[in-house]
Amino acid sequence: MPPGFFNHLLLISLFELKRAFATRRGLLSLITFAVVWSFILLYPLRFAAELLAQEKSLKQDFGFLDFIGLWSIHNWPIPEFGVFWQVALMIFPIVSITLAADQTCSDRERGTLRFIVLRSSRDRVFFGRFAGVMLIQALLITAAAFSTFALALYRDATLFSSAWPDLLALIVNLILVVLPFTALMATLSAQVKSARQATLWAILIWTFLAGLINGFAYYLPALAFLKLLIPGYQLTELTQLSGWQTLQLAYIPLLQSFILLAFGRWIMARQAL
């Protein structure tokens, strides 16, 4: 009796996890991410959070962060989380496009995918790889959020008990944010020949799709709903929200991911391996 769908999903995604954490290439990517993130954490994030904490303690009506348009950071009770939220909303979609670019393309070009589909269906490989990359990103997001939590505790250890709900909200939301970007890369990866091509196409599609839909919506406001198709469309609105309010827009990345994955699965099923 062949193993079931979820058994294969687990095996394939765990193999991707092994690729990220136990191979030289994967470790190199992780170290690069860790170095860049430490820099962001120790300089811009720490300084902005300290500035915010000072503004709060001085009860200033209008501070530097309001001046640069980041007034919504004040909605977060812990300043570090407010700054983390703004930074993460910019950084993680970019990380996602880079990290998730090679879900199936280089394996297909090399022929390795043939060895795998002899033992598993194309659907299982497609969704297993997607689940694996999501798992890796979820771990990176969790690690980054916990490092920010540690920074906040270093400033004020009394935050330990009150910070957990916001920490969880941040992690869940960021996972939802990267979901459609990862789905877009899964779809592109099923079609193109290399990770580089997938990244280039993602940037082109994202830019042109956003430009085109915004153009249509400007002249025909009835078409404004098409903006829902642009991955990251909700990011601007998300920056204005805090805590569990951020889940109000969760339906957008979920809907986008569903559409993109359905399209990617369709490509994968027809693609010559």
Binding site: S120, S121, L273
Partner: protein, 305 residues
């Protein structure tokens, strides 16, 4: 009732502007290895890719054990050596074979044992913990054949299994195939006709995308004429042909290539033609290398006449 393991109905495939397969229809039962031959570009790899589920045919139907290629119930039952496919360079050979065995439903411990078994069969134990980029072409090829045998599948499709291997390893591959023929049906695509002649009872000949089935062994039924292929040490070809033609029962003697002669004879007139030929060779102090009944596969398939 025994049902065929492969059923192809009106199978066609076209790449942009080029027909690779045209209305291929055939059925194969489980049994002895089957050869798949044809000139370059005849559609052999396309046919194997369709059977393996790597490629969707443009039209027509394919069923393996009653299922479409790539269907989940074929997991572990059908395997293949795809042409030019390489393993993932990031993981060791064992890590990948264990992963494949686990996808076939084996527990971790069993998968480790199975990976060891197939690597051992091809004398690859010493590279088990190496990564693919350090393997030579021959080693990588043997690893790719080894992965096809994980879990003893019922049908194995091998695309050019011995191309690029040294004679010792060709023999190993041949021995492994011969050992498994009682449980596994092999379809072997190859240009090495001598190899197929040794291993296969039946050959599928693809030419310009069209297929015909040939039986290799000489028919036991009485025939109007039979053939003997004679490979000689250097000798005067014209004298030899004249001497053979003079024998009672010989219909025709041809010399398709240097030192190779095909004798067509009437078995009704002379049943023991082989003995007669050897007497002639001996009496002229010539020396032969090989005498075999029937035509070579090459003659049969590509130089009919």
């Amino acid at each position: 009732m025994k049902s065929p393991i492969i059923q192809c109905q009106q199978l066609s495939h076209a790449y942009v502007g080029k027909v690779a397969l045209s209305n291929v229809t055939f059925e194969l039962d489980a049994g002895e290895p089957v050869g798949l031959v044809g000139p370059n570009g005849a559609g052999k790899t396309t046919l194997l890719n369709i059977l393996s589920g790597f490629l969707r045919p443009t039209s027509g139907q394919v069923r393996l054990f009653g299922h479409s290629p790539g269907a989940v119930p074929l997991n572990g039952k059908v395997s293949a050596l795809p042409q030019d496919a390489r393993l993932d360079p990031s993981f060791t050979v064992t890590e990948q074979l264990v992963f494949y065995a686990r996808l076939q439903g084996m527990a971790r411990q069993q998968a480790m044992l199975e990976a060891g078994r197939v690597l051992d069969a091809f004398a690859l134990k010493e590279v088990a913990h190496e990564k693919p980029p350090v393997l030579s072409h021959g080693m990588a090829k043997r690893v790719a054949i080894a992965q096809a045998l994980i879990g003893l599948p019922a049908l194995v499709l091998l695309d050019e299994p011995t191309a690029g291997l040294d004679p010792v390893n060709v023999r190993t591959v041949r021995a492994v195939i011969a050992e498994l023929t009682s449980t596994t049906t092999f379809i072997i695509s190859s240009h090495d006709l001598a190899e197929l002649d040794r291993l296969c009872q039946q050959v599928l000949l693809l030419e310009n995308g069209r297929l015909q089935i040939e039986t290799i062994r000489e028919d036991e039924q009485p025939a109007a004429s039979r053939f003997i292929t004679l490979q000689m040490e250097p000798c005067p070809a014209l004298d030899l042909m004249a001497s053979l033609k003079a024998l009672d029962g010989v219909v025709q003697v041809t010399n398709p290539q240097k030192n190779e002669f095909i004798v067509e004879y009437n078995p009704g007139v002379q049943l023991n033609m082989d003995q007669l030929l050897m007497q002639v060779i001996h009496s002229h102090h010539w020396h032969y290398r090989q005498l075999s009944h029937g035509k070579t596969l090459e003659e049969k398939l590509f130089f009919k006449g």
